[in-house]
Symmetry: C2
Subunit: 412 residues, 2 copies
Amino acid sequence: MNCEIITIGDELLIGQVVDTNSAWMAQRLNERGIVLKQITSVHDDAEHITAALDEAFNRADIVLTTGGLGPTKDDITKKVLCDYFHTRLVPSKQVEEHVRKLYKNRPDVLNRLTATQWLVPENCTVLTNRVGSAPIMAFTLNAKRLISLPGVPHEMQVGMQEQVLPWLTEQLPDMAQTIAHRTLLVSGIAESSLAIILEKWENALPDCLHLAYLPKDGTIRLRLSLYEDAIDVLDEQWNQLKELVQDYLVVDEDKPLELVLGQMLLAKGQTISTAESCTGGRLAALLNAHSGSSAWYWGSVVAYDNSVKQNVLGVPADVLETHGAVSEETVRYMVEGVRNLAHTDYAIATSGIAGPTGGTPDKPVGTVWMAWATPDGTYAECFHLGSGREQITTRACTKALLGMIQILRKFG
Amino acid sequence: MNCEIITIGDELLIGQVVDTNSAWMAQRLNERGIVLKQITSVHDDAEHITAALDEAFNRADIVLTTGGLGPTKDDITKKVLCDYFHTRLVPSKQVEEHVRKLYKNRPDVLNRLTATQWLVPENCTVLTNRVGSAPIMAFTLNAKRLISLPGVPHEMQVGMQEQVLPWLTEQLPDMAQTIAHRTLLVSGIAESSLAIILEKWENALPDCLHLAYLPKDGTIRLRLSLYEDAIDVLDEQWNQLKELVQDYLVVDEDKPLELVLGQMLLAKGQTISTAESCTGGRLAALLNAHSGSSAWYWGSVVAYDNSVKQNVLGVPADVLETHGAVSEETVRYMVEGVRNLAHTDYAIATSGIAGPTGGTPDKPVGTVWMAWATPDGTYAECFHLGSGREQITTRACTKALLGMIQILRKFG
C-alpha cells in the first residue's frame, strides 16, 4: 500500500528547520511493509495544503501530515482539515482530560489558548499524543486514511509508535507488502571502480531487486532492495554481492560505524576512550549516542586548546612547539595520554585543520593526523580530507572509527 | 519569483538518508530574494521524476533538483532530463578536462564509468562542480529554468554558492523580491502564554507581516516575516515585538546559543571549558562547530565513566559513592575540576540520566544536574527534561548554554 508524507510549515521552506521527521517516519513505514511514495513540504497556507492533499490522495492510500497543530495563530492545519473533510470543530472530553493531566503542575499553561487544543474535527478519530497537547487526528475517506501528527519530533515519534502504526494496522489489515532492504558498507574503493566489479552481476539481477550506491565520507553503502514476495531471491543475490565485495567489506548491515565498534568491544569485554582536537567532541557524541555505550566507552578529552593537550593529556610542550599540534608526534602523545588517563584498552586521537583558516602550504586545510592506541602498540596515519569544515570533521570521524575497527579485526 | 526543489533518491523515501540539502538551499534562496514554494522528494523513477517536474513547473519559475547524478546504474536523473528536454547526451570537453584534473592523482578512478560523467545533455549549460565529477546542468524552458545539482551536500553547497546562484542572477536579473525574516529567541514561558501576551499586537499586525512560533527544547523562536517592499513596517513592528517579550528575551537574532555565548566571551576576552556526562560530547561538538571557536572554547572532558570523573576531573570517590554520579555534589566537583584543568574563566558540567535505562524512582530518566563555574563562584541546578534519549540530550545542551548566558549577563 502506498503512503505519502506532507510536512507543513513555513520554517521548512525558508530553511530555518531541517525536516528530520520524514526519514524517521519512512523507516517505520518500511518496517511495516508500507511504501512511501513521496514527501512534500508545503507552507502554512490553506490553499497550498489543500492542493497537496488532493495530489497525495491521487497517488496514495495513506497520507500522513506533520506540523501546524500548535495553539497559536500561525498553526492552521486543524482548520484546513476541517474544511477538507467538510466538518466542524467540537470539544473532545478525551483530549481535555489528557491536556489537564499533562499540565497539572503547570496551571499557567492551562489558559484559553491551550483550551483550543481540545477542539477537534467532529468526524475524526482522536489518537492520544501522550507527550504533548496537540491531538493526533485520523480521518477516513472511503478506502483512504489521513493522519495528522504534531511536528515536534519527540511527539511525532511517540505518537507513531504507540498510536498511528497500530491504528493503521487495525484499519487496513492488508496494507503490508514485502519490503526488504539489505545494506552493507565498503571502504577503500571508488564508486565507479566498485560498479565495474559488480557490473556483470548487477546487469543479471532479477527485475525484482534494485541495487543502490550511497557514497559518503569516503565509504560506500550498497543497498539491495526488494518490493516483492521473493525473499529467497534476495538472500541468494545478497550472498553473491557479499562475496563480490569481500575485499572491501566493512560490515554487512546498515549499522553506524560507532555501533559496529561498540559491539566488537562489548563482545571482548574491552573499552575505549578518545582524545579529540579537530573533531571537537563529535566523535564522543557519536560514541555516546546509543544506549548502552557506557559499557565500552569511557570518555573523551576534547583538547581544542594546546594547554589542554599539555595539562590534561600530557603532550610535552617541546613536542607541540617543534612538531605542531597537527603532527604524528602530538597525536601519538594524545592517544597514549587519554588511554592512560581513562584506563581503557584502546584509544583514538584526532588532530587536524578543519578550516576555513589555520592552513599552511605544508599542512593545508583538511590535513588530519590520527592515532589508535592498543594494548600492543600505537598506530598513526595522516589523511587529507578535502575542504569544508563540516565535511572534514565528518570524514575524520569516519576515518577514526574505520581505522579502529580495522585494527581490532587485524590485531584485536 | 517562485522556486521549487525536487530531491531525487530512493534513500530519502526509505529513510536511509535525511534531506539536509533542502534547508540549506532554502536559506540561500531566501537570501537572494527567491521564494521557495515547495520541496518534493521522489524516487529514482523516470515516471515519478517527470511528473514531479511537470507539477513543479506549473507552480514555479525555477526548479532545482538534487541527486541521481552518480556514474552508477541507479542514478538516472541525467537520462530523465534528456528525455524531458527532448535532447541527447553528448561529450563535453569542459567536463572531461575538469574530471581528468580532479582525479589526476587517482588514475584508478579514471575508468569507463567515470567517463560517462562528461556526457551531458546537448542543450544544457554546464556549470562546473569544482569539488566533484558530476556536472551541474542548467536548462532553459521559455522563461523557466531548471538546474540539476549533485546530492552530495558539500558538492551541492559549493556548486550553489559558486555557480548556480550567480548564474540565476545573471539569467533572471529581476527574480529577486523583498524577503526579510527577523527571529528572536525567548525562554521561560509557555507558547500559549506568550501568544496571549502578544495577542492584541498580533491581531493588529499589517497583512504584509507573518508571525510564526517555533517551540524547541523549552525555548521558543518567534519569527516575523515580510514578503513585500515594506522594511519600515517590519522595523517598527519588530521593535514593538522585542519590547513585548523583553522579560523573556534571550537573543534578538536567529543565532545558535553556542554562538551567542561565544561572542559574549570573545568580547570579554574570556574562555570556557566543559565537563560532560549525559550530554556525552554533544556540548563540545556544538561549541566547536563554528570556525573561530578556539579563541574562547578550550576543551571538554567527556566523563562518561565514573573512573574518568574521578581520575581526570578529581571527583572524590566518596562523593560518587554517597551522592551518585547524578547529583549536585558530583556536578560541582566536575565543573570545578575541568575549570582548573583547562585554566578557563568559566566552565559548564552536565550529569544526568538520558535513558532509556538507569532511572530510579528517586532520579527518573530525564533527571539532569548541571553546574556553571565562574571566577566568582559556582551555580548548580537540577532539571527534569522529559523522556527519550535524544530529546533529553538536546534539551540538556540548550539548558546548559542558556544557563551560562544568563549567568554571564547577570554577573559577568
